[in-house]
């Protein structure tokens, strides 16, 4: 799936995550999180898995996480990627 536009999903509310995606060369993931030390690795993993499932190989994905659990992170990343493609779930 090709990302052609910038897109956002989620929010900065507690237990949520704000995800920004934009077109890029290759896949990059940048994470800010209130639980970075405890869950940084798992968050990155969740983002990569979601991108992989949608076959996205070229995108810059930036997260501002407020303690979202894994299903929320995956949901918000999926939504942002689909919006960036110009498609809704």
């Amino acid at each position: 799936m090709k990302i052609t536009a910038n897109a956002i999903a989620g929010s900065l509310e507690s237990n949520d995550v704000l995800v920004r995606v934009s077109p890029a060369e290759g896949l990059s993931v940048e994470i800010e999180s209130i639980v970075l030390q405890q869950f940084g690795r798992q968050i990155r993993q969740a983002v990569l898995e979601t991108a992989q499932a949608l076959q996205v190989e070229d995108a810059a994905i930036f997260l501002q996480d407020k303690g979202a659990i894994e299903c929320t992170i995956k949901a918000r990343v999926e939504t942002a990627l689909l919006r960036a493609k110009g498609e809704t779930a």
């Binding site: 507690s14 237990n15 639980v35 030390q37």
Partner: protein
């Protein structure tokens, strides 16, 4: 020589403040306090160095301490609780000498025993007379109980009452007595009333907090302690306060009249006193305006000193007559050890206060906390800091289940019989981790920035410096 002086600086001069002295402060003016900052500003101006601050608690308003530490005016801090910007500075290693944390009961014990020696005590008082009789109930900066100031007045070498409201002699009632006071310093303002007491403390509206609070009330009812003469203390957090609202109908149903409420007093406990749920309130600090008004006007609402409240070495302390206490936690481990000193990253953000004292004294110590906060599980394998040892903790109540300390099988049977959702604490940990995932282990390994002295005088844990951001 008259005791009353018209400036703080004069009082400080007369006390012959020197380098290396220990100055003490109570925290009844909470986040509206101006006394500590005024004293230290003066001391800094005088070029004093290496002072030790012995404060029952420190708040964000005391952040100027960060500068005093950097400039060498202050090189030692001993306290029962810390919040605000000072926490970050201490956790990042701003001080060479580790902070010494004590509990609210351990502090008067350390002072009375001589382990802590106070050179000058500065006692902020909303009202005082020219001979130094002082109370917390008169004046515009009224704060209610002055319980934490008693030991300072009794044992410090020199005692300065700092007030913005001098009343005619003799001031009645007098919490601090003239027999202990050297000087009375009149200043423009000892503190901002809005920061001293909240207008009202509020119980939580959060439905999760209410579910937890209801379970806690049911635990108390099922424990067998809810009978005539019942005594109770609860923290000032929203969910802990909500326990009072669920306790009242249970007490009414069982036709129970309680003997006393203890605290940390808020308007909710005052309501319980006035509505006949308790005969008396014993008050070591007032959290809101209603509590201040009540302690002033109601003879059945009485001020107690911190020593009487919780000292482990007095002939008897009130915590030892306490039936049930509801406390919070940032973390609790599978041995029921509780951490209220640091957050899950090891950053200092609190302290025992009365936590370890009440847990040790009460027949039923309940920890009330959500199973996870923003993806961080409450139950861990090992807490980052032991504030309150697990052998003094009886029950953990979360919104998804209750765990009983294995050393209380009698209690577990009662609670199970009452239909409460009882789980081994390890299972609560797994329940949380199924939702949050398993967190990476955080073990700050910088140098020691604080030592936690338990109420018996032993150091039970050390807090290490976290990475600077």
């Amino acid at each position: 020589m008259p005791k009353l002086v018209t400036s703080l600086s004069e009082a400080i001069q007369r006390c012959s403040l020197r380098d290396g002295m220990t100055l003490s402060f109570h925290h009844h003016l909470r986040n509206g306090d101006q006394v500590l900052n005024m004293v230290l500003a003066q001391a800094a101006q005088m070029g004093l160095k290496n002072l030790c601050i012995q404060a029952s608690s420190l708040f964000d308003v005391h952040s100027p301490l960060i500068d005093h530490i950097a400039s060498g005016v202050v090189t030692g801090i001993e306290t029962g609780y810390m919040s605000g910007r000072l926490c970050q500075a201490i956790s990042e290693g701003a001080m060479i000498k580790p902070v010494r944390f004590r509990s609210h009961g351990g502090r008067p014990d350390a002072i009375a025993s001589g382990r802590v020696h106070i050179d000058v005590a500065f006692i902020g008082a909303p009202a005082a007379d020219p001979m130094g009789n002082a109370n917390g109930v008169d004046g515009t900066a009224a704060c209610g109980s002055l319980g934490y100031a008693y030991s300072d007045a009794q044992y410090a070498d020199k005692v300065v009452v700092v007030t913005d409201h001098v009343m005619p002699y003799p001031l009645v009632p007098a919490s601090i007595q003239e027999i202990d006071v050297d000087f009375v310093a009149l200043v423009d303002s000892i503190g901002d009333p809005k920061g001293i007491v909240s207008g009202t403390t509020r119980i939580t509206r959060d439905p999760v907090g209410l579910v937890m609070a209801k379970y806690a009330a049911q635990v108390i009812a099922a424990s067998g302690l809810l009978k005539d003469g019942f005594s109770f203390q609860t923290g000032a957090g929203g969910a802990s306060l909500a326990v009072t609202q669920y306790l009242k109908p249970l007490m009414k149903q069982a036709k129970v009249t309680g003997s006393f409420g203890l605290g940390g007093i808020t308007g909710y406990l005052v309501d319980m006193l006035e509505e006949g749920y308790f005969e008396k309130l014993l008050d070591v600090q007032c959290f809101d305006l209603r509590a201040v008004q009540s302690i002033r006007d109601n003879p059945r609402h009485q001020e107690i000193s911190a020593a009487r409240y919780a000292s482990p070495s007095v002939k008897s302390a009130v915590v030892n007559s306490l039936d049930a206490v509801v406390l919070g936690a940032t973390e609790i481990d599978t041995d029921f050890n509780v951490n209220v000193h640091t957050d899950s990253n090891g950053l200092i953000m609190g302290g025992s206060g009365g936590h370890s004292d009440t847990a040790a004294g009460a027949k039923l110590a309940i920890i009330l906390a959500p199973l996870f906060r923003a993806r961080l599980p409450l139950v861990v394998d090992k807490v980052l800091c032991v504030t309150t040892p697990g052998n003094t903790v009886d029950v953990l109540v979360t919104q998804r289940g209750v765990a009983v300390n294995p050393k209380r099988p009698d209690l577990a049977d009662r609670l199970r019989g009452a239909g409460l959702p009882i789980y081994p604490i390890g299972e609560l940990k797994e329940m949380a981790q199924r939702v949050t995932g398993v967190p990476e282990l955080i073990r700050p390994n910088g140098r020691v920035v604080a030592e936690v002295e338990y109420r018996d005088g032993r150091i039970i844990d050390r807090i290490r410096s976290i990475q600077a951001p």
